[in-house]
Symmetry: D2
Subunit: 338 residues, 4 copies
């Protein structure tokens, strides 16, 4: 069992990590770290439990630690980072330099040429990039919560045909904004075009994942990202120009035939991609929990008069798109480096 | 004052028509018609008021009539049809044959080569198509509730540059499904990919509107239509390939410079197109009511890496996209034929 | 293993029953029955799966049967009824007369003096009423979905102090209306006072449960029932006049000390009552799933200036309040009659 | 025309005040004041418009001022305060001492024995309390947003019968928490028991309003306050013990016969109380806008087995319950002091 700590443990993704680490077959949670505001308080005080179902009573009395390597107990090998971007930018290299393996969900280093951006069932080979990292430890990242379902849907198609271009739209859940995140006033009976840089991320992250280390894939994507009044589950539409202009049937076959890469991981579900044949699916509330939140549901693979083919993909944004993404990357590291 | 009747008066669009006909400067409401199930009952019994704000007390005691020309009083000149597709298909020609001007919101005859599909500030000249119609009266239609904001945003761009192709996505309100329409179970904390033929309509209706009578415009569109948990207001994203690949600034200028065509209409708002410069707009709950629900709000006109340029457009789907669309067409007819 | 069939298998509660019967330790699902409209079709065609998470693929191809005893296979001993009231009224005695044990969630016979109304951890002794029933089989009912959390919160207090009166309010989930149930138009950004007879049920069902067979408890309740825009989980407020006017601390102690009655049941959770000490709980989305949906969460036990003491109780309305209620009653029957 | 300034102009209630002051027959808006964070910026920068419909373009370029009397222009006579409690506590007496009439929506001084708590159509005579106030100006308050519909529904009944006790529940809109207020994560598909002191306010404010100056009415109330996923409109249930135990019909008659007190006010609607006879009303989205948001809708006046009689009341919480409440109080002051 490797000892792990969670950085940013009091946030939305931090709580998902805590929940997923209970009874994990490879990892034992040793420490919860968060901002100075929270450090020193019990976890229950600093972060009243706000996920569905049973509370995390087992860690309720733990004392939250500061986000510094020295604050960690000795038996921590891996830190799972759910830090906000700025804190991640400042502290993740410090943890890596201290010899820890930093598995990060933050956006700070995703485009750093030294750092792999990994979905472990898609591009586990990118882990090799850590070999030449300047730190005593290592730093691994996972994609943005919308880039995850997009890249996972594109992976089989890029392998089978080659992706040329994608017009993308999203129907994103409020949990993607963290906690407290969006104001209820803005969301009730409403949708909210994403004012930040999410659209830009969808233009570079799938390319880095689906390319070779250091050589991003060359296709172009342009996205419209809109927050909707759902709790969990990002629905993504992709209108795709694929090389050779395959038919929807050929695309479906490629999706069906896709074999996840890399080692079998505890957090990796079967199936990885669930193909729904229902015309009104995928839908966030119904499909986000599939495979414990780690399965991506794909549906409505159809002819697109403009681009060639179109489809929907949906992933639980704080599990497959965040906490589970980091956790699976940590599993990949642990199993690969054995 | 022209006498008007509402067909399908008990539905969602029927109630909007009733609300908009109160104190109308050109029209006097004379009769409410609906299905046999409702006929004979008072309007309040047949259709308990379900719009926001004051009830339509002035028509509460009216007796609902059958949907037949003979059931109308003599002083009705125009019928505004909010009938379901099948009923519209069967009955609208009967009313037209009886000498009435049928101004329809239904989908049944929108693609009929004899019938104009009109947004009165965009293609009022299509009204000429009624001159050769086979009926004693006339039949005019307005577009689907998503096609309205799309066509209205494209109109200035088609005139200024020429539209080549559009990738479209929608975030559609539940009122678009009528009443009772969507199940609350399917919508609460959820979004619902539209299982019907809405996407197909967006591939033909803008073309008919923006072309010449009998000669649809040649551009291609491909849409993804998703119902979201909003009451009113369809948000539409368009990623556009325009001839000459104009910049976002040039596109904004074309939108700003657009002059509505045709005569001034009582229901036509100022401005027709409202250009928002806020990054998180348009948003349905905040923007749908602009201009009494008749203004289309456009925002986020930006470079699109795939298609050239992209933007959002939003319209109140049961006002600008349905009841108000029909009413404005009736106003156009009345003012043109004077 | 007892063989069971589900009546009304295509509805909201029917699907919950199917989900809960998978891998059940006492029961084997043998047949799915529904209306004539559904009979003969596969279950997947008749009732596209609409619960969260994995589909019920194991029964997708089953042929739906008619709702008649003769339509059942021979090895069915128990029928779990999720029929609408009128169908239940007509058919449940027919199944009971045919020798089957009918465990019903319907409201039709809850107030029948021959029929027990049971929450198995509260009044399992009422099962004795079946001994004098006129049918070859038996008929057992469970309470209305709001009466369940109310009666479960009152049970320890009625035992410890005696309930005199209760002012009750509800914040009820849309699933309580079945499928399609409430119109999304009525619920989006809205709440909906319940127009039916739900309030009346809360005035008689807790009394029957907390009294002796044939002798309902004498306290009075008056309720206001309001549907809110939540998926699952009925929140109930009770302002209580208890004999002797105990303090909130004494009430909490009685709740804490309550021992569920009857035999241990596979579907009965630990704890049966979860006492939350958070000021903003219970909340439906967060607490409804506790104990697999079978735990009732109670919170905010406080002094009431009018009645003496007040508290909130919350239960998953289609699990603890419907499907799970019936299933647990079937378990009680099976274990008691051994 | 009296010159007015808005304190706390950048918040939810501040924006409603700005909207209601446009083209007001008695008042001219002269200044917008807010926190130091906002002071010096334009209003559009400091408070991007977030109400439905047209933006407040007429004040977009105004410079926000500091919340000090010296920051006001000379021609301001009345300040309308939408300040948070602590700021109100500190600054409202300072403005009053500076000779201004402070008409406050804040909770800070509602229970101060020197300060009247006024609903102008209910207890305009309480204005007399300002005569003995220690300040050069005056300080007037309006009730909490839930206390408003409660007190307005009780007023006719207290006059006709005498209120003895009330068990109260609320279904409160998110706008009541201000902006950003509630987290969307907490509200989507959820309800949120109010963790603050709202319930306590409902136990003292109606009493102060319905009593004589300095002598609150003696009845007791106990409330359960729950936030629901609605934008605007607080629904309140009251189960009432009235002296003499009148029938629902008698209660309805008292409500129907109620004559608003005091002078006719520009903001006071006709009718003040709208009595709905629909079983599923009042409902926030449909009824909150009645009378421009200033009418209280009452429904379901029925026998209560516990308390005697019960009813629902609904008011737009940021209009009748906040901005409009303050504005109408300012109108009362202006018209009374003439």
């Amino acid at each position: 069992m490797a000892g792990v700590a969670v950085l940013g443990a009091t946030g939305m993704v931090g709580q998902r990590l805590v929940a997923m680490l209970r009874d994990h077959p490879l990892f034992e949670l040793k420490a919860l770290c968060a901002s100075d505001r929270s450090a020193g308080r019990t976890y229950a005080e600093a972060a009243p439990w706000r996920l569905e179902g049973e509370d995390a009573d087992w860690v309720a009395d733990w004392r939250v630690r500061e986000c510094r390597p020295e604050a960690l107990p000795d038996d921590v090998d891996i830190v799972l980072s759910a830090l906000p971007t700025n804190e991640a930018k400042a502290m993740e290299p410090v943890f890596a330099e201290a010899g820890l393996v930093v598995v990060s969900n933050a956006g700070a280093y995703r485009q750093d040429p030294r750092v792999p951006l990994i979905i472990p069932e898609i591009n586990p080979d990118h882990l090799v990039m850590t070999a030449t990292q300047p730190w005593a430890g290592a730093l691994i990242t996972n994609p943005n919560c919308c880039a995850v379902p997009l890249a996972m849907a594109l992976a089989p198609l890029h392998a089978a045909f080659g992706v040329e271009a994608a017009c993308v739209s999203t129907w994103q859940a409020v949990s993607g904004a963290g906690y407290p995140g969006e104001s209820a006033w803005d969301m009730v009976g409403n949708v909210h075009p994403h004012p930040g840089d999410e659209e830009d991320k969808l233009g570079v992250e799938p390319q880095k994942i689906l390319g070779a280390p250091g050589a991003p894939a060359a296709f172009v994507t342009s996205a419209r990202c809109v927050r909707v009044n759902t709790a969990d589950g990002h629905l993504v539409s992709a209108q795709l120009h694929l090389r050779g202009n395959p038919s929807p049937e050929q695309v479906l076959e490629a999706l069906r035939d896709f074999t996840p890469r890399g080692p079998a991981l505890p957090s990796s579900p079967k199936p990885l991609l669930y193909l729904s044949d229902r015309r009104d699916r995928p839908a966030p509330r119904f499909d986000a929990g599939r495979g414990g939140g780690m399965t991506v549901t794909i549906g409505r693979v159809e002819r697109c008069a403009v681009m060639g083919v179109k489809l929907y993909a949906l992933a639980h944004n704080t599990v497959r798109g965040a906490a589970g993404a980091a956790l699976a990357n940590a599993e990949l590291w642990t199993l690969q480096s054995r």
